[in-house]
């Protein structure tokens, strides 16, 4: 590719470098990241506890009730609230970094590099939030099960197969579901903020003062 006398070379952002900068970003802006993570944790913990509690109930009473429709509705609403929380938090993260985004673009960053930074950040936050949410939700369900029924029923429920249609113990299928769902939720909720950041005109982004 050439324009006039110039040979236009490539503009790159290796995955490893993007990942390193993103980790630094999360570390240095820990509070913001923690707030976003909390939003995910709450949604996922709620989901895990509801699913697990109904599982414990089944193994204790032997009655296959399944999950009631209103519980699905609650789940849906809680994940939606969690998603809106992430979007809000990421929009503030973008606003905080207007000048940085402008500077990155001055240094040669392409729109998709800015997009990469923000989506990578939200995937990492999503993954961490998913794991923590799973642990908290599971603990809540175990405590509930042990108090309402027995530890034996809880143990049976944890190892029961078939939850969410997976042919693996519930304790593992829930972990997988939590992490995957948390990452997806986090990415979807961050799409608009990340796209907005990527499309910023560098001159406008630089002018912005907080």
């Amino acid at each position: 590719m050439s324009v006039g006398e110039w040979e236009i070379g490539s503009i790159e952002l290796p995955f490893s470098e993007a990942f390193r900068i993103t980790l630094e970003n999360i570390r240095k802006r820990f509070v913001r990241a923690a707030i976003t993570t909390a939003s995910i944790i709450l949604g996922i913990a709620f989901m895990v506890s509801i699913l697990m509690m109904s599982q414990v109930q089944q193994s204790a009473t032997g009655v296959v009730e399944g999950i009631r429709a209103y519980q699905y509705w609650l789940l849906f609403i809680s994940l939606l609230v969690s998603g809106v929380g992430i979007t809000n938090s990421m929009l503030i993260a973008v606003a905080e970094r207007y000048k940085e985004i402008g500077t990155m673009k001055c240094l040669g960053a392409l729109d998709r590099h800015i997009l990469t930074f923000f989506l990578m950040e939200s995937s990492i936050i999503g993954g961490i939030g998913g794991i923590l949410g799973y642990i908290i939700g599971l603990i809540a369900a175990i405590i509930y099960g042990a108090m309402q029924f027995s530890m034996e029923a809880v143990g049976k429920a944890l190892l029961s197969v078939g939850l969410l249609g997976f042919n693996i113990p519930a304790v593992i299928s829930l972990l997988l579901a939590s992490v995957i769902l948390a990452i997806l939720l986090s990415i979807v909720a961050s799409l608009y903020p990340a796209y907005y950041a990527a499309k910023l005109n560098p001159a406008d982004a630089l002018r912005y003062e907080i």
């Binding site: 006039g4 070379g9 503009i11 630094e24 000048k99 040669g108 630089l206």
Partner: protein, 239 residues
């Protein structure tokens, strides 16, 4: 390939539309800056200095007119080519330093080289040399918050030179610095200008800049009021 003019503007204009009002930030600016020149753009705030800086730097599109960098009309470039231009041909220095706060001095200087695809060892070597050149050889692993204003601006200058650009654009580089530190930064930029032959364009209202500039472009209300060489300015002072 050597070009006589590094920067050339042709009837350059930028209008901002605020409801029924039109703000003419730039209104028909024609300037030519030779390779290796040190040019200061002077004028009161609101005279269009920063707008001109943004236009020459490929950060914003003009309403009318053209900007040529190394004789290439940059309005014809697409987003990818513009990013390449900003990465390889232009180095930016800002009033507020604009270092990436989460990265060390060395990483900040290496960042433009990452985008340029320079291999890691080469990046570290070149960035270290540049930081040593601006007098920060012992501050490589410091984060911006651990550096003084003058030191941060030195990192920014090293970063601007990372990919050996044709031009360094500096928007009020001494605006946030005290008199003494400001003078050090000005002298550093002048020395690098001589040493590396890099063209330097600064937007400023710092009168200390006059002493080191080859030419001074006076901007007022988005128009070039007059252009003087340093000899002419000195003569005025002696009168």
């Amino acid at each position: 390939m050597r070009y006589e003019y590094t920067v050339e503007t042709e009837d350059l204009a930028k209008y901002y539309y605020m409801g029924r009002y039109v703000v003419k930030a730039l209104d028909g600016v024609n300037i030519r800056i030779r390779r290796g020149e040190y040019v200061s753009i002077m004028g009161p705030s609101g005279s269009g200095k920063t707008t001109l800086f943004n236009m020459i730097g490929g950060l914003d599109r003009p309403t009318r007119g053209r900007v040529y960098i190394d004789e290439v009309d940059i309005s014809k470039l697409d987003a990818y080519e513009l990013a390449w231009l900003r990465n390889r041909k232009i180095g930016y220095v800002f009033q507020t330093f604009n270092l990436i706060p989460v990265l060390t001095a060395l990483e900040n200087v290496m960042l433009p080289m990452i985008f340029a695809g320079v291999p890691r060892e080469e990046r570290i070597k070149r960035a270290t040399e540049l930081l040593q050149r601006v007098g920060l050889g012992d501050r490589l692993y410091h984060k911006p918050t651990e550096l003084s204003g003058g030191q941060q601006q030195r990192v920014a200058i090293a970063r601007a030179l990372a990919n050996d650009p044709a031009i360094v654009l500096a928007d009020e580089p001494t605006g946030n610095l005290d008199l003494h530190t400001g003078l050090e930064i000005i002298n550093l930029m002048r020395t690098l200008n001589k040493e590396k032959g890099v063209t330097i364009v600064t937007a400023t209202h710092d009168l200390k800049m006059i002493d080191v500039s080859d030419r001074i472009v006076y901007l007022r209300d988005g128009k070039v009021q007059r252009i003087e060489t340093r000899a002419e300015v000195s003569a005025e002072y002696e009168e």
